[in-house]
Amino acid sequence: MSKIVLTVDDSRTMREMLMLALSNAGYCVVQAEDGMHGLEVLKDARPDVIITDINMPRMDGFGFIEGVRGDDLHRAVPILVLTTESDAMKKDRARRAGATGWIVKPFDPIKLVEAIRRVAA
């Protein structure tokens, strides 16, 4: 059975790129447009991994990660944040919010899959 990845990003372009890379790697992809939408989607979805952007309207990535970690049903789901290489402060803040790891953007599809395999059985 294919693993499910929830992608949370306000950029349509980024969601499509993630969809292409992940579906080519055999994952099923569920999408959300921002953090608030992501928490709504999690009421019905049971992803194996979550990938989230940080800068989003309504609820940013930090708020979303804290929301997931506060939810008993999903608190053990690995969460990878999309971040630029130079964003050390954002990586640190995401880590403190409860992020499992990160993916550097613009992302390399191979490294994306490697990062997912590193955190998901």
Partner: protein, 308 residues
């Protein structure tokens, strides 16, 4: 049309939307609106354009939007005031950004002189770089990126090169003790061990000595540690990279012990002491039949003996 070409079209459509949001947001700010969400929206518009441009290697667009984004970051952090002059510059920068988007979309050339002038004006607004001499070129990362790095020819000689047919194998001793936060962030030791094993041959030993009796066990605690002897052709950076997501949430010691790159005397003595302590503890423990240890999900953790 292939998938990436279709996504690129989506990107340019999205850019037009973002440029619209950017202009509206800047005009609202110019009218005196100080709502932080307006500033955030303006920042996100430029940030999104930069992110997508990077994915398609649209370097001119990346560079200009990066300079613009930096200044907007200062604005939203309160380090730069949204004065009339600042917003006028930003509105002109937004126009330039639009020109660069359309040039990238249409494969035409943008006005580089105007681009450079506006980039300089934006940098002059940046409280971290304003007033600094950026004419030395190499200190200006934007200028470097536009003109390319400076290369100096370095003569090389093939005379002493040895071509190795097989890479050297290295041996590492790794001590790994996860902290509770590692598991709270959904990292798993079993997956880390799996990744280490993919680098070469690994012998993994689990230390149960800190495991308390059941009544005292905190289900969110962390009581196990691992020693891994790894033989691999990879270097130490590759070994440490396995732990890059968890380095703040564990105690980690990686020591290379192969003869080609030995430890210094102090590190070697410390390693020998650790190994002696481990051996002495194992010898002192009563013999117990080995067990496969599994986590609550039934997944293998290690084969070892439980300390009493």
């Amino acid at each position: 049309m292939d998938a990436m070409a279709a996504i690129k079209q989506t990107f340019f459509q999205e850019c037009e939307e973002q440029l619209g949001e950017l202009e509206i947001g800047l005009l609202v700010l110019q009218d005196g609106d100080t709502d932080p969400e307006t500033v955030n929206a303006v920042f996100r518009a430029v940030h999104s354009i930069k992110g997508g441009a990077g994915a398609f290697n649209l370097d001119e667009l990346v560079h200009f939007s990066h300079v613009f984004e930096n200044v907007l970051d200062h604005l939203r952090a309160g380090r730069l005031a949204a004065s009339g002059d600042v917003l006028k510059t930003m509105l002109r920068a937004a126009d330039m950004l639009a020109d660069l988007v359309r040039a990238a979309r249409d494969g035409t050339a943008a006005d580089t002189g105007r681009r450079d002038t506006l980039a300089a004006e934006l940098r002059a607004l940046d409280p971290e770089t304003a007033g600094k001499d950026l004419d030395s070129g190499h200190q200006d990362s934007y200028g470097d990126d536009l003109e390319g790095p400076v290369f100096e020819a370095v003569p090389i000689s093939f005379d002493d090169m040895e071509i190795e047919s097989t890479p050297d194998e290295h041996q590492f001793i790794i001590h790994f003790t996860p902290k509770p936060d590692l598991y709270a962030k959904a990292n798993e030791t079993a997956l880390l061990m799996r990744e280490l094993c993919s680098l070469g041959e690994a012998v993994i030993t689990c230390d149960f000595s800190r495991l308390p009796v059941l009544e005292e066990l905190d289900p969110e605690g962390s009581y196990l540690s691992w020693t891994i002897e790894l033989r691999t052709v990879q270097d130490e950076n590759a070994v440490r990279a396995v732990f890059e997501f968890v380095e703040w949430d564990c105690e980690l010691d990686v020591a290379q012990v192969d003869a080609a790159q030995g430890l210094d005397d102090t590190a070697l003595e410390a390693l020998i002491e650790k190994m002696q302590a481990t051996v002495e503890a194992e010898l002192a423990a009563p013999e117990v039949p080995p067990n496969d240890v599994q986590d609550p999900m039934g997944r293998w953790i290690a084969t070892g003996t439980l300390a009493e």
